[in-house]
């Protein structure tokens, strides 16, 4: 069934996806809020940048990250001068790559759900003595719960499924940077189809289940549709 290195790859993938999703929710939420409400002209530039990973081949993103994060790259050497190590071929490098690569999958659903909200409700909350942060947490956030669910699941699933970026900046070190998709590739290369089936089939099932849950939940409780 699953070899020891398969289980390591599975665990690593899970850790990577969770870490990436949490980081994206933390930083993606204010970014999505800003994109939904700002009227600045340069907003379009930021929107385009956020959407780049949707159209760019992952190898292109991976290539530039490799250069940036490498021992001689500007970010990599900054890490070294601060007493750390360059993030390439490490878990930290995978996290940085995944965060950038999955960014639009988290930011776009959040931005859409913030933009769809009735602005009147935030005004009401303000007249009811809620300060700006309180309004965000007590009104905007709960009203965006569908957006958060969609964003989390898409961010998680997309990170689990990535291949190109990881291969470029992570390499293929079992236990350190060998994620599920790369382990599958390895098995296929070595003609171990039975092993590949276990991982590939499992991934397919997991992804389908997650998406099914999101769509079912959003359909059942979409705001405004319960009203006759």
């Amino acid at each position: 069934m699953l070899s020891e290195s398969d289980i390591a790859a599975l665990w690593l993938t899970f850790r990577l996806a969770i870490t990436t999703t949490l980081i994206l929710l933390l930083f993606g939420t204010p970014l999505a809020w800003w994109l939904a409400h700002s009227r600045r002209r340069f907003k379009v530039i930021i929107e385009a940048v956020v959407s780049l990973p949707l159209v760019l081949p992952p190898t292109v993103l991976g290539f530039y990250l490799l250069i940036l994060l490498g021992v001689q790259g500007p970010v990599g050497s900054l890490f070294i001068s601060l007493g750390g190590e360059a993030p390439v071929f490490r878990f930290s490098g995978l996290v940085i790559g995944s965060v950038l690569y999955s960014l639009p999958f988290v930011v776009q659903p959040l931005r859409d759900s913030f933009a769809m909200q009735n602005p009147r409700l935030l005004e009401v909350a303000a007249t009811l003595r809620a300060h700006p942060l309180d309004r965000f947490f007590s009104v905007a956030l709960p009203l965006a719960r569908h957006g958060f669910l969609t964003a989390s699941v898409l961010g998680f699933a997309h990170t689990v499924g990535e291949f190109g970026v990881v291969l470029m900046i992570g390499g293929n070190i079992p236990g350190e940077t060998q994620v599920l998709s790369i382990a599958i590739y390895d098995h296929v290369e070595s003609l171990e189809y039975a092993q590949a089936h276990w991982l590939a089939g499992g991934l397919l099932l997991l992804s389908f289940t997650l998406l099914l849950m999101v769509y079912a939940f959003n359909q059942r409780t979409r705001p405004g549709q319960s009203r006759a």
């Binding site: 009147r120 005004e123 009401v124 007249t127 009811l128």
Partner: protein, 356 residues
């Protein structure tokens, strides 16, 4: 205590220029046609808009003074705001909606308690319900309760009845009248409906194209011949009167105001209770003498104050009845025959009176 509002705001072709001082008690109405700047003015008072030039004080509190760049943000102003659409929070049930501001009062005094409001607005059966299966009238009652529980020093209401059907209006109107009678919070009420204003407002600020046209007591503004309310076909006078006695035999109630009496079909009201009555200009005819041989019960001695022509055939006459004003619509021919002129003493024959 008074509410001083001075705003100048330019937005495209629209300019708002308002400078009024209102008594900080009872209900004051910002009244005028759609697009005259009423809602903008109300939003400025709440702090939802920031006019370039503005001064806003309520008693001792100064909420905005642009000359010293002073602007208190919305959530720090002790206002309650009732929007045209109830705008209840869809993710909270009725009770949580009601208590939203109340739970945020902190150390501020909470004189208005949830129990009292739930009673006053008859909300007890609605508390656990989700807000999206409430009727329009129920939603608006919850919204009013929610705003009141913020314990505001000033309650702002932006056309709270205009989105409701007649039945819901009839359900909310008594609540608003009760608020007026039982709470000491001043209310600023935006409306384009003369009926609502006549029924609720003590004072009126008449707005047109962002400018204040007139300001004063509702009964005065409604009977001023030069202003829009008197120029409507429904032109009417509003009179505050007290219940004086009941005539059981004929099932009538006698009301008194400034030494005069009005009789109307029996009302289920206690003696000395104050009532507001409305007398339409079309229901008042004029006579030189007190006619005794008439079926009209209500004949009041009046003095002509002013006359103006409505059209080629009709005139509108403003009358003084011991301090309270009446309007009468008569034909130009009758005005000529009677020789009606200012300061003339006449008898007003009132065909119909309705209670507001």
């Amino acid at each position: 205590m008074s509410l001083q509002i001075r705003y100048q705001l330019q937005r495209g072709a629209f300019a708002l220029d308002v400078d009024v001082t209102l008594p900080a008690k009872g209900i004051s109405a910002l009244f005028g046609p759609s697009g005259c700047g009423k809602t903008t003015c109300l939003r400025c008072i709440a702090g939802l808009e920031k006019p370039q030039q503005g001064l806003l004080t309520l008693g001792e509190q100064c909420w905005q003074d642009s000359t010293r760049a002073h602007f208190i943000p919305v959530h720090q102003r002790a206002v309650g705001y009732v929007f045209q659409d109830a705008a209840l929070f869809p993710h909270l049930n009725v009770e949580a909606n009601l208590l939203y501001a109340y739970r945020r009062l902190g150390k501020r005094p909470a004189n208005i308690k949830p129990d009292a409001i739930i009673d006053l607005l008859r909300l007890s059966t609605l508390l656990p319900r989700s807000v999206d299966n409430l009727s329009g009238g129920e939603q608006q009652r919850v919204a009013i309760g929610r705003a009141l529980l913020a314990n505001p020093d000033l309650l702002l209401m932006d056309e709270p009845l205009s989105a409701l059907d007649a039945a819901s209006k009839a359900e909310i109107m008594p609540c608003l009248e009760q608020l007026h009678d039982e709470l000491s919070i001043p209310i600023l009420y935006v409306s384009h409906s003369a009926d609502e204003v006549a029924r609720l407002a003590d004072n009126i600020v008449l707005l047109e194209n962002g400018q204040v046209q007139a300001q004063g007591k509702t009964s005065d503004i409604f009977t001023r011949l030069d202003l829009a309310p008197a120029q409507r076909s429904e032109a009417s006078a509003i009179i505050e009167a007290q219940v004086e006695s009941h005539d059981e035999e004929f099932a009538l109630t006698r009301l008194a105001f400034s030494g005069r009496h009005i009789t109307l079909p029996a009302l289920a009201l206690d003696k000395d209770q104050s009532v507001r009555i409305i007398i339409h200009a079309r229901d008042v005819s004029l006579a030189l003498e007190h006619q005794l041989n008439s079926s009209i019960l209500n004949i009041l001695p009046v003095e002509v104050e002013a006359i103006s022509a409505i059209n080629a055939a009709q005139m509108l006459v403003r009358l003084d009845a011991g301090g309270q004003k009446l309007l009468s619509r008569i034909t130009r021919k009758s005005a000529n025959v009677l020789g009606i002129k200012p300061r003339q003493r006449l008898y007003a024959q009132v065909k119909s009176v309705s209670l507001l």
